[in-house]
């Protein structure tokens, strides 16, 4: 078997990690926009920090899913079938969020906007929670038979470790969003985002430590944490400290490393499996026994190696274009007329 199988495992892990780094703060902004902005102008300002970016960030999830389909069809088939109903909920959450961004400002009515605010908040909580449950379950193990089919019920998806993973990711996303907001806003929004970050940070730090230890004991008997698990704990603690030191830029860097290393630690714990079977260890789905045809992996490697750097380049450029901080005053009703009212 070719070495492209582990390579594609890394690509999948990279895509999920990229998704959480980017969409993580989108989720956080969605959860917190109502607390950071106390009036409509403030809320709009908060939402507009991610306005041009969230859509491109969400594509990371689509590409992660599609890449699993192409590179590990067996993994994609088992996982997506097992999480069928959970995925319906995830999709509803993501749909609610996406529509809230686009449609909130389309009508100037208080009830309309408040309804979409609720959709945005609910969707932003639910999505990382449920995706976290799903990722946690991969490592914890689910009832899977010898034919790689899920045999459990819906409730068996709610494993304690999975739920803890979900809750951790919600809190990490919240902190990530708060540090992002405090980096991207000015004045009172900046202040309140910092305040929220300080409120959330201790809980996030504690959960990350708990999550890493639980992850560690789930996949190994070794005593010492591996590098990535250590990194996650250090980054989380650093994030807490930097939030209290009010170093917005470094705090955001620290939450970025935290969320990334949490996701990576799940995938590192998984490998060489991709889905653990709680029925029988012999039924584990592995990178090898779910991998696509070698020729497909070769083709996809060429495509990914050409396109991914390009994608990273133009996404980075779009972040550069929209680097300016957003102010509440930009969205005051009596401010200069908007060039494009959406």
């Amino acid at each position: 078997m070719s070495s492209l199988v582990p390579f594609w495992f890394i690509v999948i892990a990279f895509l999920w990690t990229g998704f959480f780094i980017l969409e993580g703060f989108d989720f956080g902004v969605g959860m917190l926009h109502d607390l950071v902005g106390t009036d409509d102008a403030g809320r709009r300002a908060a939402i507009n920090t991610i306005g041009p970016l969230w859509d491109g960030n969400e594509v990371w999830l689509i590409v992660a899913g599609a890449s699993m389909f192409a590179a590990f069809p067996g993994w994609y088939a088992t996982m997506f079938s097992a999480f069928n109903l959970a995925l319906v909920l995830i999709l509803v959450a993501l749909i609610a969020r996406g529509l809230a961004f686009e449609y909130r400002g389309k009508r100037d009515a208080v009830r309309w906007r408040r309804s979409w605010d609720v959709a945005l908040i609910a969707g932003s909580f639910l999505a990382p929670l449920l995706i976290g449950v799903a990722l946690g379950d991969l490592l914890h193990g689910l009832p899977i038979d010898s034919a790689q089919n899920y045999t459990g019920s819906f409730w068996e998806l709610l494993q304690p470790y999975g739920i803890f993973t979900g809750v951790t990711l919600v809190l990490v996303s919240a902190l990530h969003g708060a540090t992002f907001l405090s980096l991207k806003t000015t004045g009172e929004l900046h202040e309140r985002a910092g305040l929220l970050a300080r409120r959330v940070a201790p809980f996030t730090g504690a959960l990350v430590v708990g999550f890493i230890i639980w992850t560690h004991v789930t996949h190994t008997n070794a005593f010492f944490l591996n590098t990535i698990e250590l990194l996650a704990i250090l980054a989380a603690l650093a994030a807490v400290w930097l939030v209290y030191e009010r170093r917005a830029g470094f705090a955001f860097a620290a939450t970025t490393v935290t969320i990334a290393s949490c996701i990576v630690s799940i995938f590192v714990g998984l490998y060489p499996s991709v889905m653990v079977s709680s029925t029988n260890a012999a039924f584990d789905l592995t990178a090898r026994n779910t991998a696509s045809a070698p020729y497909t992996l070769k083709v996809m490697s060429v495509v990914a190696l050409i396109l991914l750097p390009l994608v990273l380049a133009y996404q980075a450029w779009s972040y550069y274009v929209f680097r300016r901080r957003v102010s509440r005053s930009d969205f005051q009703p009596n401010a200069s007329p908007a060039p494009q009212s959406r």
Binding site: G56, V59, F80, L99, N149, Y150, Y295, V299, Q315, P339
Partner: protein, 461 residues
């Protein structure tokens, strides 16, 4: 209902809904890019105002295309696990390429275009909308390559009874793909142009900004007429290709149970369906089916009954005839409405020539309602293509009933179907209301050029 029936209903429901928004996006992205190019070249305010006006409509649709696209991407694994497992190494590849090449491009550059009015130089900003348009066109390319592989699978070898990709280029040189892709792009242009025409016509009927909306109406017509003409021609050629690789599909579209040569085409029929092999066919046009299916005046079309015998001999016992009623009528709905759209378009061109486009109230009324037709045509086309492939999910390789996730409880599929129907009903309602609202909004004044440097963010949300 069995699991397979429920899952098929779900897939059809979700996909047909998705494809209401996709062609609008492909078509309007291109037309908006054309408008902005006109503004870039002429620097005339009306083109800028139109760009922003139709750009807003584009964005409303992209939002829905994106969120319903998520469902599209996930549902193969959710309900069709056995299918995903068997053909993921082939079918999954163009899907992943679509994400990498098209979705990132489309979404990132849409953000740049939408929020970049004040932040990017004029030329770069123009290029961002073209990048969006390129993204939509690439997206269709990969998804059509994947779908065409299901219609006419090639580029693989069977290894232990499982298809394994061995030639990726075969997917992109598949004759079904080449013609179906051309058809989808043209149909999208028709849809986008029809929407633009309808909106312009409504505005003209209400006497708003005549000199501006007459420009967009004219542009829409100039795109619409050749696009619908070529859609019909390409559709005809696609029929010939499909008759070659999927003879059941075309024989069912004519409810042709017996082999015929030459074959006539019936305009209508009474009765029909899979249990009525002798429907009353009305207004038969001699030789037309031969022409449509084979490009030859006296071409032979093998009937459904002999095909069924061939298939049972080849694939074993089973019923291989698709739903004849759906085939017969979806094909006719598509073709007849296509001709209606063509006639409306030609009428519009004639009015342009007579310089009466902005004043012919009868035409403007018809043009508003004509926007419905491309959506019906698109749906008819997909029903013809997808239902005509049944009972196969991948022609000759896997039956639809074998593609479903084996361990899925019926209640799960029923629940997810219910949830999607409810959510999509909300989405469609909101989209329709917003499209109507923003289509009827007066055209916004253009800002003075000096404003472009003002430190005002492009407020969007």
């Amino acid at each position: 209902m069995t699991n397979v029936d429920l899952a098929r209903w779900q897939f059809a429901f979700v996909t047909i809904n998705h494809f209401f928004f996709v062609p609008v996006t492909i078509g309007l992205a291109f037309l908006t890019a054309l408008l902005q190019t006109a503004w870039y070249r002429t620097k005339r305010d009306e083109y800028l105002r139109l760009t922003k006006f139709f750009g807003t409509l584009l964005v409303i649709n992209v939002a829905i295309g994106v969120v319903t696209g998520l469902v599209q991407e996930f549902q193969f694994g959710m309900d069709w696990g056995a299918y995903s497992r068997l053909v993921g190494n082939i079918f999954g590849a163009p899907l992943a390429m679509e994400g990498l090449a098209a979705f990132f491009l489309e979404s990132t550059f849409l953000g740049l275009w939408l929020f970049g009015w004040d932040k990017l130089p004029r030329l770069i900003h123009l290029l961002t909308i073209w990048a969006v348009s390129l993204g939509t066109v690439l997206s269709a390319l990969f998804i059509m390559a994947a779908n065409s592989w299901m219609q006419h699978p090639l580029g693989f070898v069977m290894v232990h009874g499982k298809p394994q990709l061995n030639d990726i280029w075969a997917l992109f040189t598949n004759p079904v793909f080449l013609w179906a892709y051309a058809k989808v792009l043209l149909a999208s242009l028709v849809t986008g142009a029809a929407v633009m025409l309808a909106v312009s016509a409504w505005q003209l009927r209400h006497g708003r900004d005549r000199d501006v909306f007459v420009r967009s109406a004219r542009m829409a017509l100039i795109v619409l007429v050749p696009a619908i003409l070529f859609t019909l021609l390409v559709g005809d050629e696609l029929g010939v290709i499909e008759a070659r690789y999927q003879p059941m599909k075309i024989a069912a579209a004519e409810a042709q149970w017996k082999t015929c040569q030459p074959c006539s085409f019936s305009l209508f029929q009474i009765g029909g369906g899979n249990n009525d092999h002798t429907p009353t066919q009305i207004l038969e046009i001699p030789h037309l089916l031969s022409l449509l299916a084979t490009n030859h005046w006296n071409g032979k079309v093998i009937g459904l009954t002999p095909l069924q015998h061939q298939y049972t001999a080849k694939y074993g016992p089973g019923y291989y005839v698709p739903n004849v009623f759906i085939q017969y009528w979806s094909m006719r709905a598509m073709a007849y409405l296509g001709v209606v759209v063509l006639l409306i378009g030609v009428w519009g061109l004639w009015l342009i020539r007579r310089k009466k486009l902005a004043t012919s109230r009868r035409f403007l009324w018809v043009a508003v309602w004509a926007a419905v037709l491309p959506f019906l045509m698109n749906t008819g086309g997909w029903l013809l293509t997808e239902s005509g492939r049944q009972p196969w999910v991948v022609q000759g390789i896997m039956l639809t009933k074998n593609g479903i996730s084996p361990s899925l409880p019926t209640t799960w599929i029923a629940i997810s179907l219910g949830v999607f129907v409810a959510v999509y009903a909300v989405i469609a309602t909101v989209d329709l209301l917003l499209m109507l609202k923003y289509s009827r909004r007066p055209l916004q004044p253009a800002r003075a050029d000096a404003d472009y440097d003002a430190p005002v963010p492009a407020v969007q949300y």
